[in-house]
Amino acid sequence: MTATLIVNNLAGLLFVTSLLVMGVSRPTASAVFYSLQSLVLVLIFVTLAATLGAGELYLWAASAFVTKVVLVPVIMYRALGKLQDPAASRPLIGPTGLCLAAAVIAVLSYLAVSTVKLAVVAELKPALAVSLGHFFLGLLCIVSQRNILKQIFGYCLMENGAHLTLALMANRAPELVEIGIATDAIFAVVIMTLVARQIFRTLQTLDVKQLTALKG
């Protein structure tokens, strides 16, 4: 099994974990699965670092482990445990629909990536397709979930997709970029969590359908 094969398969695993994040009903469970997904991402980084000989990626992997595998899930778990709104837990699209949509996204992403002609990613096209598709999966999560907490995870998924794209295509970027991404993830999540708690305290709901006060 060559290194590129490992990367591509791990990327596929990324897809599966995303579906799990979306599919489970309790936000705390989503946090756990998100942690798992981030671990997969860290593994991809490590593999890529070994394969491509990009020393920076070890650093990326380390910081991603600290922020995404540990910090973000812990923050989410602690913060969201107190927020319960059963009415909002029921998703708009069921597991089957979710899987179908994910399949469509995967196919479309693959088609989109197949036209890319770059020497760096010639071997890693499936991984690149996953990174693009992951972005859309995040979007799918935002659109399909009624619970605003799940939507925060949608954002995190999009962020992971972008992170992977960056690792594949610009892995020799200086550490500064990586620091930016890591802090970005943490601060965005912290802020969104605070907003979500504020919403819940004010309106006693997490259902996005109720949040239409600004509609004209």
């Binding site: 996005v208 239409t212 600004l214």
Partner: protein, 671 residues
């Protein structure tokens, strides 16, 4: 000596006084003092600027490109402008000193605004007479009209607001005509400078059109018949020191404009222009004094006298224009001399009379002469100055009104001697009109002085009246002295004004005075010596006193003491001659002419056309709404409802929109 900076100083001082008054709205007493003192200082600067120019006969010019590319800022300080600056400054000095006490009456009723508009009004007149560019001329003309409009409505009463509206309407109708006249000139010269207008050679019909537009445009401001309707309403409505400025000076701006355009710019080349001016002058004089006689309201009466005196001034100007058109230098100079001299004199005595009327109103709080009477004892100084003004306006020798009317007569006599049949016929007719005017004016002021200041008081206010404060007396005394000086000093004043007239008519110097004599061209024809007249009159008075002293012994023997009685009844205040019954015979005699006042007054017609216009506008106004605005509104509503569907309210949909837009953009860029 270049005195132009002094004119600038004067204008700036007025403006400073105006804004000081505006800023001191919360402390009106100080504001009144600032406005009055700044106005007085500015007036002194104006006198210092104009007097040397008048005496030396020097013309001063200044030009700069100014802020606007289409109009140069040109100042042309010729003798006519200098005379106007002198008149404005003299009156402004009296009015500003007078205002120091008079405006106190208006404390808490917008005295600060009065100071602001008054000073601005004077400043704009001053700037108006010296600029030599049509654009700036019109700007200052409008400023003058607007500032005086606010002075007219300062009482805020229903009557004042109506009068102000009429004034506004006629003043602007006039300025539209003036604008048209300047536009016609501009079309042919390609420049807005008056200097370029002067060098034009227009065809006679075009020049006539320009003249007629300017004549009626400025005539509306001057208040000549038939455009006088606003004057007897607007002038009384304003506070008295403003009335003095309006009646004394502002109407002269109209005359100034007529001379500037008709004589200075167009050169008075056509005979009938002069005859038209003469005819309108004659009619204005006779009708003005007749209507004045019928008035009870002292300020309205004075306002009608302005119409009369504008007529007399126009007679002189008309005669001068005829002289210019028929190439008679003597007539040209005499006519313009008479007109300009009367312009100066009328400003002085009409200012004085309005200030006097203001003093009476200040104490009695009424303008109705029927409620006055006996004020001569209660307010002796006011009565004395008013009497001097009344004698001057009635053209009694040796005061100034007599001298200028004498010159008017001389110019008309000169006109009757030469020229075509029409001109020789017009001369005597106008002489007769002037004679009637003079007689009626005397009658009118006998009535005014007699009813207001003599006899017994006819109201409690009149019985308790006190003399007015010193600044008001000072303002009136200044003008009263000017009346005497301009009369007795005729031999000194006439050559100066004759110089202005000969500069305007572009003729050689005409001899009009030597030592104490004034005469029309040569002393062999006729001559007048006002100091001699004064000495003779004083002598006559002395003879009476001496005779009275001599026969004192015999008179006392025949005399019985006791109350006055009338036809067997004891004297009753109701028996005192009143303003109404004094003029009653005249009203009966000239009944058709009084009816003419209603018929010839353009204000009902203007009011009617205005109401038609507002009717048409109110018919038209919803058309725009119904046909343009409402359909557009409905369309926008419909569009809004369509857009509302996009606006779902669920932010997830908005996220989709963003991504969709992103994808579309990427596809577009890729393609």
């Amino acid at each position: 000596m270049n005195t132009l900076p002094l004119v600038l100083v004067s204008v700036l001082l007025y403006v400073a006084g105006a804004f000081a008054s505006l800023l001191l709205a919360s402390n009106e007493r100080l504001g009144i003092r600032c406005a009055g003192l700044a106005g007085s200082a500015a007036a002194l600067a104006g006198l210092a600027a104009s007097a040397p120019a008048l005496l030396s006969g020097q013309t001063l010019d200044f030009a700069s490109s100014g802020p606007f590319p289409f109009a140069r800022f040109v100042v042309h300080f010729d003798l006519l402008a200098a005379l106007m600056v002198f008149v404005i400054s003299l009156l402004a000095l009296a009015a500003s000193v007078y205002s120091l006490s008079y405006v106190r009456e208006y404390e808490g009723r917008g005295a600060w605004a009065m100071g602001f508009f008054m000073n601005l009004f004077i400043a704009s007149m001053l700037a108006l007479v010296v600029v030599d560019n049509a654009f700036y001329f019109l700007i200052f003309f409008e400023m003058m009209s607007l500032a005086s409009y606010f002075l007219v409505i300062s009482e805020q009463s229903n009557e004042a607001v109506k009068a102000g509206f009429l004034y506004f309407l006629i003043a602007h109708a006039g300025s539209v005509l003036i604008m048209l006249a300047f536009f016609l000139l501009y079309q042919h010269s390609g420049s807005l400078d008056f200097a370029s207008f002067r060098h034009l050679h227009l065809s006679t019909p075009l020049a006539s059109a320009v003249f007629l537009l300017a004549f009626f445009g400025f005539g509306a401001k001057a208040g000549m018949v038939p455009l006088h309707g606003w004057l007897p309403r607007a002038h009384p409505a304003a506070p008295s020191h403003a009335s003095a400025m309006m009646s004394g000076v502002m109407v002269k701006i109209g005359i100034f404009g007529i001379i500037r355009v008709g004589v200075d710019i167009l050169g008075a080349t056509t005979t009938w222009w002069g005859l038209l001016v003469l005819a309108i002058g004659g009619i204005s004089a006779v009708l003005g004094v007749l209507y004045a006689l019928a008035e009870h309201d002292i300020k309205r009466l004075l306002a009608y006298h302005s119409v009369e005196n504008i007529g007399i001034i126009l007679m002189g100007v008309g005669a001068g224009m005829v002289g210019m058109a028929t190439h008679q230098p003597l007539l040209a100079v005499l006519g313009l001399l008479a007109g300009l001299y009367h312009l100066l004199n009328h400003a002085v005595f009409k200012g004085l009379l309005f200030l006097g009327a203001g003093s009476v109103v200040f104490r009695l709080h009424t303008k109705d002469m029927e409620k006055m009477g006996g004020l001569g004892r209660r307010m002796p100084l006011t009565a004395l100055t008013f009497l001097i003004g009344a004698m001057a306006i009635s053209a009694l020798p040796p005061l100034n009104g007599f001298v200028s009317e004498w010159f008017t007569y001389q110019s008309l006599f000169t006109m009757s001697l030469q020229g075509s049949f029409l001109i020789r016929l017009a001369g005597p007719i106008v002489v007769v009109m002037l004679a009637i005017t003079g007689a009626l004016a005397v009658m009118c002021f006998v009535k005014v002085y007699g009813v207001s200041f003599s006899g017994a008081p006819r109201s409690p206010h009149a019985a308790e009246a006190r003399e007015v404060p010193a600044p008001m007396i000072a303002g009136m005394a200044l003008l009263a002295l000017a009346c005497i000086a301009l009369g007795l000093g005729a031999a000194l004043v006439a050559p100066v004004i004759a110089h202005i007239a000969s500069q305007l008519a572009a003729t050689g110097a005409i001899d009009v005075a030597s030592q104490t004599l004034v005469y029309p061209g040569s002393a062999t024809r006729t001559a007048l010596s006002t100091p001699l007249v004064a000495i003779l009159l004083a002598g006559g008075l002395l003879v009476t006193v001496v005779l009275g002293g001599l026969y004192r012994e015999q008179r006392q023997k025949r005399r019985h003491g006791g109350d006055a009685w009338a036809c067997g009844y004891a004297h009753d205040p109701r028996m005192v001659v009143s303003a109404g019954n004094f003029a009653k015979p005249l009203r009966e005699m000239f009944a058709p002419l009084y009816r003419l006042r209603q018929q010839a007054d353009p204000s009902p017609a203007m009011r009617h056309s205005l109401s038609w216009l507002t009717g048409a506008a109110s018919w038209m106004e919803p058309r725009f709404d119904d046909n343009i605005v409402a359909p557009m509104l409905r369309g926008i509503h419909w569009l809004g409802r369509q857009v509302q569907r996009l606006q779902h309210g669920d932010f997830r949909i908005y996220c989709l929109y963003i991504v969709a837009a992103l994808v579309i953009l990427i596809v577009l860029t890729a393609a």
